[in-house]
Each structure stands twice: as structure tokens, then as C-alpha cells.
């Protein structure tokens, strides 16, 4: 503990000194993060050989109380070295999100080769550098390497290493690489893993968290400062994480651009001679959109949606702490790099003449920008807890999209068909036959059969939206604001988030629903249960007067039916409810009587069958479970209500649409006669 306190003091002092000396970009000119992993990189792009080679200086600080004898590094692009890598094997031979690898082209392969590692004493450590496979026994996988130190690294000490490397970019199919002269350079340099000491994300003992590159997983890294010099052919237009400090003309028709990015956990860049750069501003944040010439008319779609996202996240979560955002619009052949997030730098994607009614560019921009919060600021471990990154971000994506473009039309907006963004996520999870495939907190590479997308993206969006509706927007936003304030530039875990939900939302939840919010969180995150309540039936039975043989004042009475006193109420009405799913959640039940009276009650939703009884003078004509549609997790909406007087107009509307559509189809085919 004493050692740890010393470390803490040292860290604070170090951060203070570093922030005072460095060229800062944040508002208050101070470090926003611990700045554990700092890189000074100088590289040159060979646009013909598709390589990026150079040297980096890593300045890594041991903020743990442990003495370390080894460092772990990611060499992500070795995933594309051959068919035996874990990524290639897990992805069925090289494919991601429907884009396959062109294995016939020798240029398609990629790697990240380290040729030299020296310390400040100029000692060569390359012989102590070896590949390891912490996740599986695939010895062919070279995406993680271990460096044995020739002397231990004590707590609070900083190690400086010079690493020479060459990265061969693969032909793009999975996030990073090249397509003709378009380069999206991500996961491209030897990158140190995260050392999680005891207490970090629930770790009992200190350990390196440095996973192999998997087909279904993203990344995890520590914050730091990146100073990057990039040498490219002079006709190339470059965009990158951070801010551009200067641009110098080099020899042999090249130029060197120097970037600085502070308090970020990754650095990505792009270049192409064909980019058209459109610039804009939101408050004091500079926006650069790097467009393909054919997509130029759609630049406004990116810019407007990005401004909406900036505004929304700032208002509902916390301020955007950086001064720049770059949006990359990839070419068709580089679509494998579309829809990807890096700090201050995202890739979107569109197509020539894409109709306004298809809001893919807006959606992907809002989603990827959101990762600047749920990943780049709230730096969760995407390998192990992908839902905290993709799920939370997808939840916000649906909020922003639906509030900005229409609840029922945000995603697809044509006269003949409309779909909201949350609706698309509900359809993706609730109505999928695979919705019990795995829990949401599973290690991401262990998902199979589409489970990663469903459980990391769709299901969290659905259960967080349910929580949002149950708690109310104000309380939900307080949760997000607290989460941001407490965990920005750190590594929160699922438990950390749940603690905040309980802290901020439990009182209200329990007051409203007399139920424990922990149950909801546990079932949503850690189980595969699905939710389905059914309003089985309603009934109205006339209450008969009480008659028969009675004893009163010692006398036997035979009360005949016609002499019996009339009951207080005319009807005994019952609402018969069933729980078909395993997931239990308190739900509101709204009952409407023939006289127009409405009564709402809450059922804790725990029993398998439940009957609500009313003694009334008016019959029940309808009843609804969850009338305000708060429980978005319910996988069957049709059985949530029951009415004795159904409105047929909606059914007829659909029937008329169906009839007309079929008339048209039939008439069309009758032309071939």
C-alpha cells in the first residue's frame, strides 16, 4: 500500500511536469489521462510496396505496484501474414463484415515485423522478443509478442525503448490496409498491451492484458501522447488522429507531416492522392472530412450528422475533450475500412448517389463518432467486454438517430417503407432465432454464429433503452454523466458501470417498480434469458347475490336468490397474465373499462401466471401489458394486449397495401405474355 501511495504521488508529479512541458491540445493545458504509453514515431510510406517503415520510441510507465520482468506487445497486422493466424482461421479464411480477402494477390498479405529493440543503454533486446499466444494454442499466430527485460521494471519507473519496424499493409478487407492508392493505416505499429494491476477491472493479481487479434474482437490500450512524423509522396493528402503541427517538403518528391495527439489510446492515419478535404467547425472543434471525389455531394451528410453527434454527446454524456475530428470517406475498394473508430479519427462510408432515404452515412458517422466516448475516452476492454463499447455506443446511436431523423424513419425513410434505428436493433435482437446464443459479457472472440453482433451491439442497445424508459431520461442521463465523470480516460468494467446504475438509478427504480435494479442488470448482461409476457385473457363475470342457507342470530335462514341483497358490484373482472420468457422485469398493466375508466397497476412479473381481479360495475374491454412500451426487451408485442373490441382499421390498411402490391406484381408479370 505504501509503495502504491508513493507511486500515486510520483504519477501525479510526473503528469503535472509532463503537461507543463508538452504542447497540449486540451482546454485546460493539463494531462487528461495517466499517459502510460507514449509514442514518438517516425515512418515512411512506400506507396508502391505498400509498406510503412520506421522507428518508434516507446515511453512506458509502470503505474502498477508490481515489478515487471516482461512487456507484452500487439503486432496486430501479423493477423494477415498467412492463413494460419488466429484471425484468418476464425474468420473462415479471411473475411470481415462480408468483405473477403483477395488471397490470389501476393500484395494482399500483411505483417508487422520488428527488426530491432534497444533500450536507453543502446542494448539490443530483439533476441528476447518472442511470439506468444495467450488466448489459444495456435503457435502460428504472431499477433502478440513478449519482450523479456534484461532488468526488472520497478513500480513508477518508466522504460524507454527504440523499436525499428516495418509494416506491410494488407489489401483492405478488415479495417486496415490499402486499396490502390488509398491507405487506411490502423493497428499498424508495435503497440504495448495493458498491464492491469490488482484492482483494475476486477483483477485479483497483476497481469498483462494483451490478447491476440481475433476475427470478432477489437482492441484495448492505455492512454498516452503520440508524436508522429509521416513521410508520404508529396501528392498524397493525409489525415490522422491528433492535430497537424507542421508539414515539410522532403526529398525525392515526398513530404513529412508531423502530428500530435494527447491523451489518446491509439493513432491511425489515412492518405490518398484523391481525397477532397472539406472542413467545418463545431464550437472550437475542427472537422475535416476526407471525401472521395464521387461522394463530394454527400460531405454535408457527414458534417451535419457529426455536428449532431458532437452536440448530443456533449449535452448528455460529457464534453468532447479534443480539438479535431477527422472523418474518412473510403472508396468502394476500401470499404473494408469503412465504419471504424479511432481516437479523433473515424471512417464512415457511402455510395455514389445514395438516396437520402437510406441514412447509412449519417448512421455510421454518429456511431463511429460515439466510439470516441465509448472506447476512446471511456476506455473499456473491447476484447473482453465488447458490449460496453459497441452496446453502449449503439444505444446512443439509436437515441441520436431516432431523435434527429424520426423514431419510425431514422434508418430507412421511403414512402413505401420506413424503419427507425432502435426498431432495426429490436428487429436484430428480439426477433432473431439466435437471441439466446450467448450472454452479453462474453469474451468477444468466443462468440460464434453471429453472436458477436447480436450480443455486443443489438441486445445492449435494447436493454439499455429499456432501462432508459423505465428510469426516465433524466435519471438515465445522470447515469451517463456520472459514468463519464468518474471513468473518463480510465478502464471501466461492467461492474463499474453497474455500480453507477445502482447508485444513481436504484432508488427511483425501486420506488417505481418495487423491484431490485440489480436483477435487471444481471439478467440483461450475464444471462441469455429472453423476456416475453402475455396477456392471456380477460373475463367479466356477473356477480351473483349471495343466497342459500345461513345462520343468523341462532336462526337458520334460507335466503332465496330473489330475496338476496344485491351485490355491491356488478362484475368480477379478471385479467389473466402469463410469463412465457425466463427474464423477469416489473411491468405496468393498464386496464380499460367499458365506461371509459382506466386503471394502471404494476406487476413484478415474477410468477409464471398472474391474475388481476377487479370488482366493478363496468366490464373490462381491454388490457395491456406495458402500455407505454417501456419494456423493449419483450420479444413478442402481439401478445401484450387483449381487447374485446379490436380496431380493424390497422389490419385493413395492411390488407389494402398487400392487395395493391400483389395487384402490381401480378400485372407486371402479365407483361411477359
Amino acid at each position: 500500500m505504501k509503495k502504491f501511495s508513493f507511486c500515486l504521488v510520483f504519477t501525479i508529479l510526473f503528469v503535472f511536469l509532463q503537461s507543463a512541458n508538452s504542447q497540449t491540445i486540451n482546454n485546460k493545458n493539463k494531462a487528461l489521462s495517466e499517459r502510460i504509453a507514449n509514442y514518438d514515431i517516425s515512418v515512411k510510406l512506400d506507396s508502391e510496396a505498400k509498406t510503412v517503415s520506421g522507428e518508434l520510441t516507446l515511453n512506458w510507465k509502470n503505474t502498477s505496484p508490481d515489478t515487471l520482468n516482461e512487456l507484452h506487445f500487439h503486432l496486430y497486422l501479423n493477423a494477415f501474414k498467412n492463413t494460419q493466424s488466429t484471425f484468418m482461421q476464425e474468420s473462415g479464411g479471411g473475411a470481415l463484415r462480408g468483405v473477403g480477402m483477395d488471397k490470389n494477390d501476393v500484395l494482399s498479405w500483411g505483417y508487422c515485423q520488428v527488426s530491432s529493440i534497444t533500450n536507453t543503454k543502446k542494448e539490443e533486446l530483439i533476441n528476447s522478443f518472442s511470439y506468444i499466444q495467450p488466448d489459444n494454442k495456435n503457435t502460428h499466430d504472431q499477433t502478440v509478442a513478449k519482450l523479456m527485460l534484461n532488468q526488472p521494471l520497478n513500480p513508477c519507473e518508466t522504460i524507454e525503448l527504440k523499436i525499428k519496424f516495418e509494416t506491410k499493409l494488407p489489401k483492405i478487407f478488415a479495417r486496415s490496409g490499402f486499396a490502390d492508392n488509398y491507405f487506411l493505416v490502423g493497428q499498424w505499429f508495435p503497440k504495448i498491451g495493458v498491464y492491469e494491476h490488482s484492482g483494475i477491472r476486477g483483477a485479483k493479481n497483476g497481469q498483462w492484458n494483451c490478447h491476440q487479434y481475433h476475427a470478432s474482437s477489437e482492441f484495448y490500450a492505455d492512454f498516452g501522447v503520440y508524436k508522429v512524423d509521416i513521410n508520404v509522396p508529396s501528392e498524397f493528402i493525409v489525415g490522422a488522429t491528433g492535430i497537424l503541427l507542421n508539414e515539410k517538403t522532403g526529398s525525392e518528391g515526398t513530404k513529412t507531416l508531423s502530428y500530435l495527439a494527447e491523451d489518446v489510446l491509439d493513432f491511425a492515419w489515412t492518405c490518398s492522392p484523391k481525397f477532397k478535404v472539406i472542413e467545418s467547425e463545431w464550437n472550437d472543434v475542427k472537422i475535416s472530412v476526407m471525401m472521395q471525389p464521387d461522394h463530394l455531394k454527400q460531405a454535408d451528410r457527414y458534417i451535419e450528422s457529426l455536428k449532431i453527434a458532437l452536440e448530443y454527446f456533449t449535452e448528455h454524456v460529457g464534453p468532447y475533450p479534443y480539438k479535431h475530428v477527422t472523418v474518412v470517406d473510403p472508396p468502394l475498394k476500401g470499404m473494408g475500412s469503412a465504419g471504424m473508430e479511432y481516437p479523433m479519427f473515424i471512417t464512415a462510408g457511402t455510395l455514389w448517389k445514395l438516396p437520402d432515404g437510406l441514412r447509412f452515412p449519417e448512421n455510421v458517422t454518429i456511431h463511429e463518432f460515439g466510439h470516441n466516448y465509448f472506447m476512446a475516452i471511456l476506455a473499456t476492454n473491447e476484447f473482453e467486454e465488447a458490449w460496453m463499447d459497441e452496446g453502449m455506443n449503439t444505444y446512443f446511436e439509436t437515441r441520436i438517430m431516432d431523435e434527429s431523423y424520426g423514431v419510425h424513419s431514422a434508418w430507412i425513410d421511403f414512402d413505401f417503407y420506413k424503419q427507425g434505428d432502435l426498431e432495426s436493433k429490436i428487429t436484430g435482437y428480439n426477433y432473431s432465432e439466435k437471441n439466446k446464443i450467448a450472454p452479453s459479457n462474453q469474451f468477444s472472440w468466443l462468440y460464434t454464429s453471429g453472436g458477436y453482433g447480436m450480443m455486443s451491439y443489438n441486445k445492449p442497445a435494447v436493454f439499455l433503452s429499456t432501462l432508459d424508459k423505465m428510469l426516465g431520461r433524466e435519471t438515465m442521463d445522470n447515469i451517463w454523466k456520472t459514468y463519464y465523470k468518474r471513468w473518463k480516460f480510465k478502464h471501466p468494467s461492467t461492474k463499474d458501470f453497474c455500480d453507477i446504475v445502482k447508485e444513481v438509478g436504484a432508488i427511483k427504480y425501486e420506488k417505481l417498480y418495487q423491484s431490485n435494479i440489480k436483477d435487471f442488470l444481471y439478467q440483461s448482461i450475464y444471462t441469455t434469458r429472453v423476456c416475453d409476457y402475455k396477456l392471456n385473457s380477460i373475463s367479466n363475470t356477473k356477480i351473483e347475490p349471495d343466497y342459500g342457507l345461513y345462520k343468523k342470530d341462532g336462526k337458520n335462514l334460507n335466503i332465496r336468490k330473489e330475496d338476496a341483497p344485491q351485490p355491491k358490484f356488478k362484475y368480477l373482472s379478471k385479467v389473466n397474465l402469463l410469463r412465457l420468457g425466463e427474464f423477469t422485469v416489473p411491468v405496468e398493466i393498464k386496464v380499460t373499462f367499458a365506461n371509459g375508466e382506466e386503471k394502471t397497476t404494476v406487476w413484478d412479473g415474477k410468477e409464471r401466471a398472474h391474475i388481476i381481479k377487479f370488482n366493478t360495475d363496468s366490464k373490462i374491454i381491454s388490457a395491456q401489458i406495458d402500455p407505454d412500451y417501456k419494456n423493449i426487451l419483450d420479444i413478442n408485442l402481439s401478445n401484450n394486449s387483449y381487447t374485446l373490441k379490436p380496431k380493424k382499421s390497422g389490419l385493413w390498411k395492411l390488407t389494402v397495401k398487400f392487395l395493391f402490391a400483389i395487384q402490381n406484381v401480378f400485372q407486371f408479370f402479365s407483361a411477359f405474355i
Binding site: 471525389p293 402481439s638 381487447t643 390488407t655 389494402v656 397495401k657 392487395l659 400485372q667 408479370f669 405474355i673
Partner: protein
């Protein structure tokens, strides 16, 4: 015949044939209504007592549709699955009906008996022709898809953006449309050839049709394009009206349903108009150019049986066939005269240019049977 005249004559044929168009419309409606009512029943059964649809009238909601299809939609999905059989049934039904349309054009008037008599009589040969036409379309589509794919394969490395892919596919589609117009024209002409010659050789008819289209390419292509203008405009107007009114209230629902049905009805009118115009164009060409040899001798024999009328008719037919005068006088189809006396139900009749033709109807009664046998021996000139 000029394009203008074929265009207007076709229009005249269409507007004089409301009952025939209604027959086409109602067969479409009834067949589709079977599916629509089953669809409605399946919906009622799935969510009849649910309140899920309560707000659907006011607000389309994709989630409601997803929910029904996923949770109560077995019946609905089964009906949607059965639609393919409905489509085949409707295709066959249309082949049947086209025989009736052409018979009606040929006879210049409409009666249910005659319409369905013609439909039944012509069905086998039109079925063969339709299969041939469909195969031709499929072959053309296959060739275009193959060529386009080949082009994309060969040149995709030079494509800098998806624009070139889109343009390539659009060109392929456009080429298909251009060829499809020729195929549609040829198929219509071949139908007339098949029926006017009472031939069963649909392959020959199809090649004749294609040959005819190429001989008259510019004129007939222009005619077809002109014929497409009004349907396109009407489609635009329909979508605009449909969007403006919307199905958000009960009244709106009824109005839109009415408009939709009127639109479907009008489209059948357009189909008749197009067929009529091409029929006019083709039949006129046949007469003017003697493409089919008139059996004048036989005509004379037949006409001789027509007492006073026959002399006049022969004289006029000879006068017609011996001149290239475009403003040809119209000869009433002899077989028409015969059928008019046979049909007992109400008929839609067309105006004739000659008063004496009306006078001659009764005189033709006695010769009905003779003419019944020979009605397809020569082309009947439609009303111009």
C-alpha cells in the same frame, strides 16, 4: 398507317371497351382478393384481439410488421409463399384473356361469349407463344447479365469508384429495356399474326412478329414509346395523390383504396390501348401491303352468298387492295355481321363507316354458319 392514327385508333378501341377492360380488371382483382382476404384472416387470427394494430392506421411502424411476422406470422408467411402459385395462375389466366382481347379487336365489338370463346379458342397457341416470349426475355436478360458481369470483371480494376459499376449496370438495364420493347412489340404482333392466320405455328408467328417490328422499326418503336408516355405520367400522378392523401384515417383508407383500384383499372386500359394501337398498325399494314394474300376468289364466293351486299363488298375489297391510299375506306368484317346476330347478350359495338353495313346485318343471319368456318381466312380490317 401513321403513328398518330394508330395511337388514336388504339385509344378509341380502349375507350370503347370498358366492359372488356373491366373483365381484365375484375379477374385480376378477384384472384388477388383471394390472397388478400386470406392475408386479412391470417392477420385477424394472429393478432385479432391484440391492440398492436390500434395505432397502425395513423402511423406505419416497421416493428409492428416485424413482430407479427415473427410471432404470429406462420399463416401470413404461408400465404406469401403461395403467391408464387398465384402468380403462375395469373400468368396463365392472362394468356387466356389476351385471346379474348384479340378476338374482340378482330370483331370490333365485345360480348362475354365472344370474348371467352376467343380466349378459349386461342389459349393453346398463345400459351406456346407466351412461353417462347418468356424464354426469350430470360435469354436476353441472361446474356445481358453475363456480358455486364464479364465487362465488370475485365475492367473493374480500372473502376475508381462504384459509379462505374452503377453506370455499367444501368447501361445493361437500359439495353434490356430497349430490347424488351422490341420483344414486347414482337410478341404483340405475333399474337395478331397467329390469330389472324389461325395458325398454330407460334414459332413462325414470333419470327414474323420480330421481322415485322424490324421492317417498321422506327415507326412502331416510336409508337410504343408514345404509348408509354401517358402511363408514366399517370403513375407519377398516382404516387403524388397517394402520398398527399395517405391512409391515416378510415376515410383516407377508403379513398386510397378507390384510387388504387382506379389506377389498376386504368392500367388495364393502357394495356388495351397499347394492344389496340399495335393491332391497328399491324392490321392496316397487312391490308395495305398485301402481306397476306387475300383469297379473293373465295371471298367472292362467300360474298356472292350475301345477296345484294356481296357485290358491294367485293367491289370495295378490290378497291382497297388495289390501291395504296392510306385513307382506306373500311369494310365491315363479314364475320362480325354474322356474330352480331348470333350473340343474344348486350354488346359493346363500334361505329361503322357505312350505314349499309347496319342494314345488311339481318341479311347475313342466314349465312352465319358459313362465315363461322371462314372467319379467319382473311384479315378483318379494324375500324380506322
Amino acid at each position: 398507317m401513321t403513328i398518330k392514327k394508330a395511337y388514336t385508333n388504339g385509344f378509341q378501341l380502349a375507350i370503347r371497351s370498358p366492359r372488356m377492360i373491366f373483365t381484365l380488371y375484375i379477374t385480376n382483382f378477384l384472384l388477388v382478393a383471394l390472397f388478400a382476404l386470406s392475408f386479412n384472416s391470417a392477420l385477424q387470427s394472429a393478432v385479432g384481439n391484440s391492440m398492436l394494430f390500434d395505432n397502425f392506421l395513423k402511423n406505419d411502424n416497421s416493428l409492428v410488421l416485424s413482430d407479427i411476422l415473427n410471432n404470429g406470422g406462420e399463416g401470413i408467411l404461408a400465404i406469401i409463399g403461395q403467391l408464387r402459385w398465384g402468380l403462375i395462375a395469373y400468368w396463365l389466366l392472362n394468356i387466356f384473356l389476351v385471346g379474348g382481347i384479340i378476338r374482340t379487336f378482330n370483331k370490333q365489338r365485345y360480348s362475354l361469349n365472344m370474348f371467352f370463346g376467343g380466349a378459349g379458342h386461342n389459349f393453346p397457341k398463345l400459351l406456346g407463344l407466351s412461353i417462347l416470349i418468356t424464354l426469350t426475355h430470360l435469354i436476353v436478360i441472361g446474356l445481358i447479365v453475363f456480358t455486364t458481369s464479364l465487362g465488370i470483371d475485365q475492367f473493374s480494376h480500372k473502376f475508381e469508384s462504384e459509379r462505374m459499376y452503377v453506370i455499367t449496370v444501368a447501361i445493361g438495364f437500359l439495353v434490356y429495356l430497349l430490347i424488351a420493347v422490341i420483344l414486347f412489340l414482337a410478341s404483340d404482333v405475333s399474337k395478331f399474326y397467329l390469330l389472324l392466320n389461325d395458325s398454330n405455328n407460334f414459332l413462325k408467328a414470333y419470327f414474323k412478329g420480330i421481322g415485322f417490328v424490324f421492317r417498321k422499326f422506327l415507326k412502331i418503336y416510336a409508337l410504343y414509346i408514345a404509348l408509354l408516355i401517358v402511363p408514366v405520367i399517370s403513375f407519377y400522378l398516382f404516387t403524388k395523390i397517394n402520398g398527399d392523401i395517405g391512409m391515416n384515417t378510415g376515410v383516407g383508407l377508403l379513398i386510397i383504396f378507390g384510387i388504387q383500384q382506379v389506377f389498376v383499372y386504368i392500367r388495364f386500359g393502357f394495356r388495351v390501348w397499347i394492344l389496340g394501337s399495335i393491332f391497328e398498325f399491324y392490321a392496316d399494314d397487312l391490308l395495305l401491303n398485301n402481306r397476306i394474300a387475300l383469297d379473293k376468289e373465295r371471298l367472292s364466293e362467300l360474298a356472292a352468298q350475301k345477296a345484294d351486299l356481296s357485290k358491294m363488298m367485293i367491289a370495295k375489297v378490290e378497291a382497297e387492295t388495289s390501291t395504296n391510299d392510306v385513307e382506306l375506306e373500311i369494310i365491315p368484317p363479314v364475320s362480325d355481321l354474322e356474330e352480331k346476330t348470333v350473340d343474344t347478350e348486350t354488346e359493346e359495338t363500334f361505329d361503322y363507316d357505312f350505314e349499309e353495313q347496319k342494314d345488311s346485318e339481318n341479311q347475313n343471319d342466314q349465312n352465319d354458319e358459313d362465315f363461322e368456318d371462314n372467319e379467319n381466312d382473311y384479315p378483318e380490317k379494324p375500324v380506322g
